[in-house]
Every structure is written in C-alpha cells, then in structure tokens.
C-alpha cells in the first residue's frame, strides 16, 4: 500500500520535434503515512513526477504502483478515475480551480464526480471545510468573495472532500505570507498525523522541509538525486552547497559557528537545544 516507481521515464511530446525527456529511469519508494518533501531546482522534474501519482501523466517507460493500482508503460491502464479519488493532487495556485457559485457546490464537485450522492457529497464537503479550519458559515458564500489565503484553503478542501488516502501538493505555500504559509504547512502535518494521510509536498522552502517533513526526495535533471530522512539530509552542509540549496537558518547558524571554533552537534535542529549548547560552550570557555 505504498507508492513505488520502477524504472519510470517520461517524455513530453514523444515522437515530435519538441520531444523532451523529463524523467529518466526513476526508482522510488515512498512510505505510507509519512510526510515527504520533494525538492529540486525548477525544471528538475518534480511536477512531472507528482502528476504520475494520479495518472494525469502516464509513464513512457517502466511501471509504477500507487496503492493497489498498477500502471505499466504502453499498456492500457484501467480504472484511472478510481485512482484519482484515492490520490488527491493539489496544483500550484489551486484557488484558480474554483468555479462554482457557492463554496458548498464547489466542495461537492469532486465527490459527485466520483459518484457520491448529493447527501454524501454535502457531508464530505462540510467535513473537509472543517479540516481546513473554516466553519459552516462559509458554505453559502461565493468562493470569489474570499481572501487569497481562504480561497486556497477552500480549494484544498475541495480535494480533501474526495477523501483521498494520499495527498500531493505542488508548492502549496507559493504567494502566501509567512504566517499563512506556516498555517498551511501545519494543516498538512495535522492531516498526516491525525488522519494518517500520506502527504507529499513539492517545495522550495527548506524551513518547511525541516520543520514539517519526515523524508526528503531530491530531484536533479529528471533523476532522483537523493532520498533520505530530513534529519540526515541537513547534517552535511557541504552536500547542500553542492546542490545549491540554502540550508534552514538554524543549520546555517550552526555551520557558521562551527566554522569559527564552536563544536556544536550536527544533528541538533532544535532552537532550545542549540542555544543551550552554545551557552554552555561560551561559559565553559570563560
């Protein structure tokens, strides 16, 4: 019941002059019920990778298994629609997919497409809206009347209403202010921990990777460059330099201090611990 890529490759506009290989022989195993970050430079294949998870893109080569569904390149896939209800994919700037007159109708749109009755869909809609932290008074409002952050919440609720087991988010905090971003990431963490959903987040923000995710997948030029736990990933800063990744502030401070005579432990990501270690060293020195 996990996500398994087996030598998956993907070529855009195959057999045309615009042919472009975006993924090369991807082998990847994503564990269930974990929160995994997918990082990498723009154009490294992150979006292409995640669009395979709900079969929006079908592999040009190799095969992949998502939950009980198996998709093999060049073979006619069946039951793709069912897969889409199990894997909720939230695109960048999802507020642009809202289109109904009321939030209730928009939230019911997904469940109904997957065959829910009106009553069921409404139940799911109300539940999803609560999950994203909005109360029922919003149900009859127009989605266009909301603020930017609220619109995005409603759009995500529209996916959650489908009750997916796996939630995939493509840069969900783009364009939000820092506080809005933190609230958004906390929401996904809650969905991961309280509701046992497998969460995949495509992001550029290393603070979010460090503070919210369990594992990290690094993509580079259409391949998996690294796949490790977050704690392991931020230990070795020379490796991060190589990838042109600016480490989270706490890692930066630790690194700067260690370069100038401190001996702080490299697996410490907690502000309290780090500060007490610094204080100890300063006082010990005196």
């Amino acid at each position: 019941m996990s996500i398994e890529f087996n030598k998956v490759s993907y070529i855009y506009s195959e057999k045309t002059p615009f042919e472009y290989a975006a993924l090369h022989d991807i082998d990847l195993l994503i564990k269930e019920k974990k929160m995994t970050a997918i990082i990498g430079a723009t154009g490294s294949g992150k979006s292409t990778l995640v669009q395979h998870l709900n079969a929006l893109l079908l592999p040009s080569g190799g095969k992949l298994k998502v939950l009980d569904f198996e998709i093999v390149a060049k073979e006619k896939a069946t039951n793709l629609k069912a897969l889409r209800s199990h894997v909720g994919l939230v695109f960048q700037f999802p507020e642009y997919q809202l289109f109904e007159e009321t939030i209730m109708k928009d939230l019911c749109f997904g469940p109904k497409n997957f065959g829910a009755s009106d009553e069921e869909a409404q139940k799911k809609a109300i539940h999803a809206l609560k999950l994203v932290g909005l109360d029922e008074s919003y149900l009859e409002k127009s989605p266009l009347d909301l603020s930017g952050g609220q619109k995005r919440r409603v759009a995500i609720a529209g996916i959650l209403a489908m009750e997916p087991d796996i939630l995939v988010l493509d840069e969900p905090t783009a364009g939000l202010d820092p506080q809005g971003a933190v609230q958004m990431m906390s929401l996904f963490k809650e969905l991961n921990q309280k509701y046992a959903k497998t969460v995949l987040v495509v992001t550029h923000d290393m603070e979010h990777v460090l503070n919210y995710c369990d594992e990290v997948v690094v993509m580079k030029k259409g391949t998996i460059y690294a796949h490790t736990t977050v704690k392991e990933f931020f230990k070795d800063t020379s490796y991060l330099d190589e990838l042109h990744i600016l480490p989270p502030a706490i890692v930066r401070v630790r690194q700067m201090l260690n370069e100038r005579g401190f001996h702080l432990p490299s697996d410490c990501y907690d502000m309290k611990q780090l500060c007490s270690a610094i204080a100890k060293e300063v006082k010990h020195h005196g």
Binding site: T16, N54, P94, Q97, N113, I159, M162
Partner: protein, 266 residues
C-alpha cells in the same frame, strides 16, 4: 492543435521570408485580385505556375500546402452536391432515371475549387513566411493612411500583438486547469450531457477569472511604463523596403495586368 497548419509560420530561410511584410501583404492582395479576373483556363494555368513557383521559392513543401487546404475539402464536396441539384445547364453527363447531372454543375465546382485552392496557396505563402508579429507591423503601417478616417491602426496592431504574446501563456494555463479538474474527477471524454456541461464550465470559468486578472495586471504594467492609448509613441521595429520588395510589387502588378489583358482578349 499540432495538426492545424493553416496560418502557421514556418521559420525557413528564403528570399520570401526576408521580404518586407508590407510588400508581401500588398502582393498577396494583387494576386488575389488577379485570381478573381475571369481569364479562362489559360489564365488559371499562368496563375498556378506563378503561385506554385512562389511556394517552392519560399521552401515550403507542397505537402504542407496541401495540408492547409484539407479543411476546405469538405466544403467543396458540399458545394458539389449543392451544384448537382441546383445547376441544370450544359450537357447531361450522367442520368439516373429522372435525375440528371449536368456538366456545368461539375465545371462550376471545379472552377470554384481551383480559385479557392489558389487563394489558400497565396495566403499560405504570406502567413508561413512572415512572423505573426511582423504581419501585425505590416498591417499597422498599411493602415496608417486610414487613420484620418478613424481607423485606429496602432491600437489594432497593439491588440493583435498582445493577443499573440499571451496565446502560449493561456494554452499553458488551460492545460493546467484541465489537469487540476481532472484530478477532481472531471472526465471531458465520457459522461452524460449534463456532466459534460459541468466539465466545460469547470474549465471556462477559471480560465476567464484568470484571464481577467492577467488583463488587469497587464494594463497596470503598461500604464506604469508610460503607455496611454491614443498617445504619440515611436516604434522600435522599423520596416524597410528593399529592391526585392519593389520587384515583388512590380511583378505582382504585372501579373494582374497580364491576366486582365488575357481576359479582355478572350
């Protein structure tokens, strides 16, 4: 989209590609006029030779030109059917009992087909060898004399060039929204009529919302950079007539004259 070739620009390197868009537009108009002069089979033979030569000079393959004519085939078949029923002059070619097909019906259709094919070939010569934006510049310059009678040449050109600039952006956007809605279970291929209408709405509404947002942003950016419609401004891209452009015009005018004379003689 990929198969639709009518009006598509092909970036080859030929003398026709290098010509001034204004000269090409005027030449096209002249040749179109000559196509409408009834100069019999000889006239059309001359025109066909000239036009095919132009197509080949522009390094366009005849296959490409044929492809751009394909959409017209259906129309021509329809026309033939209409003519068979409507035209009852000339000789009887075939008779099925009471129903007779007359020669004029067939000849009329061929006559129209030939004219239409030549017209498409001429326009293809223009659009396939001229970047859409250069075409816009050409139209703007040619419309300039009509400014006095109220034709907003510059504004028209600005609108066309902005539309051209945003077509790829909007196509990208459309694909993205389609994928986003597909993730919510939208199926554009299957489903009942009501579901299909919903599917289309789920695409169109977001597309419009975002297009309006873009339009507002763009208007702000243009205004902030000093643009005001109707205000005098200079133009970076200047078109220049070369010897080859004059030659093109002289030849095209000559063609019209030749066909006209031929028509009078006949």
């Amino acid at each position: 989209m990929g198969n639709f070739v009518l009006g598509k620009y092909l970036p080859y390197d030929s003398i026709i590609h290098k010509m001034d868009p204004r000269a090409k537009i005027l030449a096209m108009l002249l040749v179109l006029i000559s196509i409408f002069i009834p100069a019999g089979y000889l006239g059309y033979a001359i025109l066909a030779v000239v036009i095919v030569t132009t197509v080949l000079t522009a390094k366009l393959s005849l296959k490409f030109v044929w492809k751009s004519m394909k959409p017209m085939l259906f129309m021509l078949c329809f026309l033939l059917v209409v003519n068979i029923f409507a035209v009852k002059t000339g000789d009887v070619l075939i008779a099925f009992g009471n129903f007779e097909i007359y020669s004029d019906a067939v000849f009329n259709t061929i006559y129209i087909a030939v004219r239409l094919m030549l017209m498409i070939m001429v326009t293809t010569c223009l659009t396939a060898t001229t970047k859409p934006l250069d075409l816009t510049l050409g139209i703007e310059d040619l419309l300039k004399p009509f400014k006095k009678v109220g034709v907003p040449a510059h504004e028209i050109a600005m609108m066309i060039s902005i539309a051209l600039r945003f077509i790829p952006t909007l196509i990208e956007e459309t694909e993205r929204i389609m994928k986003a809605q597909a993730s919510r279970g939208v199926d554009l291929q299957e489903g009942k009529l009501k579901e299909k209408i919903m599917a289309i709405l789920s695409l169109i509404v977001p597309l419009f919302v975002s297009a309006f947002q873009r339009a507002e942003d763009l208007a702000n950016a243009m205004e902030a950079r000093g643009y005001a419609p109707g205000q005098r401004r200079t133009r970076y891209k200047q078109l220049r007539f070369h010897f080859r452009d004059y030659m093109l015009l002289v030849c095209s005018a000559g063609l019209v004259a030749a066909v006209a004379v031929l028509a009078l003689v006949l």
